[in-house]
Amino acid sequence: MSVSDTAARLESAVSSVVRGQPDVVRRVLACMISGGHVLLEDFPGTGKTTLAKAIAKAIHGAVFKRVQFTPDLLPSDILGISVLDPRTQEFRFHPGPVFTDILLADEINRASPRTQSALLEAMGERQATIEGSRHDLDGLFFVIATQNPVEFRGTYPLPEAQMDRFTMQCTLGYVSPAEEVAILSDQAESHPVDRLESAASREEILELMAAARKVRFSEELRHYVVALVGATRGHPQIQLAASPRASLSLMKVSQAMAVFQGDEFVSPELIQSVAADVIAHRIVLAPEAKYSGASARRIVADLIESIPVPV
């Protein structure tokens, strides 16, 4: 069975639960396939958790864990802890929720920066250092973090440097009234997540990841990616520009998108379709731009419009 079939099955399975958001579903899946992590920023009740659960359920054999971030959450609550076993008089390591395939970090901005950085190190390095010893994380380690844009009290906004660790930031947004009615009908008896059959095995996902890395990417488009990301540097409205990590992520996510589209190579349309999600959350606006109502997504959209694309 080919990888594009696997991708299509996975996508339709998740979309059957998360109604009316085919674009976001594909991009989040592409983010997973590219080996990255996604930050979902949206209002409560728009389906962030459902999306994470659906992805976990659609993958046969994938372990799904969820951490609700609170101000008193400690790094050990995420990474794990060694406890003295009174029978053997030895320390036994109890792995934390980070040792999983899919981790939902709910309301990540509610935890203290210390806890946040513990998770972020794990995300960046795919390893956790606990009490001096290194523990490698699983090959499929996908973090879906959520944060709520309307609450500010008692939150610790993610530091700019750590935003960079997220490959993408997506928003779900509200669905159309027709879709919302469909959601109501779906959930009349039981939640569709509970009914969801797994669509792909964990091994197939790893195959998809390998396939994504093999998607061909022309030299010219690499230059385009660099031009797009580089344009944020020296931009008058931007104080902190996007890093080379952004270029790398943009390339990888584009490749993963090609897998879902059934292509063996990346076209410029794919790059443009994910550029705002990959770049916007990494840049910090200059104060005067922020006060004059500019937004990072808008600036990236303008850059996409103005930078000549290879034709």
Binding site: R216, F217, S218, E219, E220, L221, H223, Y224, V226, A227, G230, A231, R233, G234, H235, P236, Q237, E264, F265, V266, S267, P268, E269, Q272, E288, Y291, S292, G293, L303, I304, E305, S306, I307, P308, V309, P310, V311
Partner: protein, 687 residues
Amino acid sequence: MDKTSPPPRFLLGCSLLFWGAMTGRPVIGLIAGLLVELRHWTTLRWDFDEDAVSRAWQFTTLAIALAAVLIWLDGNRYTALPSLLSWMPPLLLPMQFIQAFGMRDSLPLSAFSFLARQRRSRNQRLGLAEDPTVFNFGNVVFATCMVAASVGSRADSPAFLPCLVLLTGWGIFGAGRSRLASLIPVLAAAGLAGFGGKVGIEYFEEWLGRSAGTARGRFDPNFSGTLIGALGLVRQSPDIVWRVRTEGNAPLPRLLRTGTFNTFIGNNWQNQRVAATDFNDLDTRIIGGKPYYLLDPRNTDGGPAATAAGEADRLPTLPSFWLRGAATEESPLPLPGDVAGLADFELDGVERNTFGTVRIYPKNPVIDGGVYWKGGTNPDFPPIASEDLRLPIAEKETIRAVVAEIGIQPTDSLQAQLAALRTWFHKEFRYTRNLTIRSGFDGRPGPTAMTRFVKETRAGHCEYFATAAALILRDTGTPARYATGFALMEKDPKRGGWVIRGTHGHAWCRVWDGDSGAWIDFDPTPPDWMAGATPEFTRMQLFNDALKRIREDFFVWRNRPANRLAVSIAMSLVALALVAFISRRLWRSKRRLLGPGGPATYDGPRIRTPLHDVEIRARKLLGSRAPGQTFAGWLSGLEEKLPESPQLREAIDLHQRLRFDPAPAPDEARQRLEELSQDLASRIRNS
């Protein structure tokens, strides 16, 4: 229109060119247009912050103020406002430079307005959210160009209106949103507004000129409208028109003439003999190394026999005075009746007619020079018997009766006649500026205004007196003419010298003295008229006088050859220093836009597919492609335009594959795309 979106590409350049063409400054317009549009060809940019914008705005304001002063100094103050308006586009260029070569697409209002700055600082203090007003300055420059073009000197050319409508349409259409059909009423409105604005501005200028009395109403040497037969108060401008000064206690003339007329028709004085009213250039003669203009008609070709040619040489010894004032082309020069010569005026030309009216073509808006007089000569030619003795039929009877009443005889000496006339006028008449005689304008039979003046009311202003005296003298057989000009009556005690105001305007007679063979001035108006001629000095008037004095004196000082060089050197040095200072600072803070030419440019091979050839054709249906729009995405728009094209999708997919897949594609793919592209091209052509 979005406030921050700039005008369409090249619109500003074309507008500045249009402005240059309409105001007669095509080179400035071209340079300004090129400077503004240069941004499209260079990546040179500056990161101007709000302080820089603010400084540029202050600089612009200063430049506008300076230009206003210069324009006021240089010309008539009643045309200064339109003139300043017509210079606005180049004055706004520094701001447009900031806009065009800055890295932002709009300028904040707070850089311009003190109030906006106040509001912002208050909001910051109170921690309120701020939504600052921003706008693109290009739109301001565009609007200014249109307004300035409409006050230009060439705005009456037939190209004005079409160009205005075209540019406005381009501006609106370029802003997007509008379809061609909905544009038509807007364009019609713009055309009407442009036309109306132009006409309105012309009327406004004319009104300004008329209310000022002199500015635009050109002096006509052959027609002098009078207020005879009109009702109301005589109103004249109290502004200073000329200044006169002398060395020591040299004598001064009492009357300075600007025009002479010999035919009284319909309550106005005019000259009808064309040959006699022709103007001829004055002769010049160098005496003692200095050129003099000679006014003695005996030195003129076609004048009376040149018997006294040697007389001219004693010109420098004659009494003289200095005359200073503002003048334009064909301004008449106020001169005494027995003026002999002029010197030191900077003129392109000076001419006079046989009535002795002298008019000039000045080099500068303010002239200054010496007038030599009392040479025993007149600039006037001897009388023309048929004209200078003629009485209007309507007045004949009245004048006869009056002559009988005064009791002067044609046999009396001229001096005796004038004395009798003067006594009669002074005794029996009253001077008033409040006119109460109305002429029968509807053709009713009845006494004329002159008849009512000499028989009934016996009260009037100088024009009545001068006209009556001229007609009475003609009846006794003495050639007489009507002269207009100024009476010298106001001494300037602080500065010395004399001033002539509009209210000193006067009318009197020129009478031919057959014995001496010369014209003499005869002023029949009772001397008490002078009491009302000098206005009460309000503060405003004193201020106006001082301004006028400063302006004229500065002008004369600047135009002296020695000073002119110094002034131009000093001005050039200041300008050079300023330009050097600004250029240096600009050069040090320059930036380059990243992008084409920047470090991320791909200069490897670019693959071309057969589908690329379809682009030019597809533009007809899809419009041109934005730089950031992908070719495939753009071309997909054809799906709507050409519904029957199943191969479009296949062609695009093949194109993407040939173009962006680094793996080598089979030759068949290229051939297939070739076929599909040709098919597509023909479909577009047939659509």
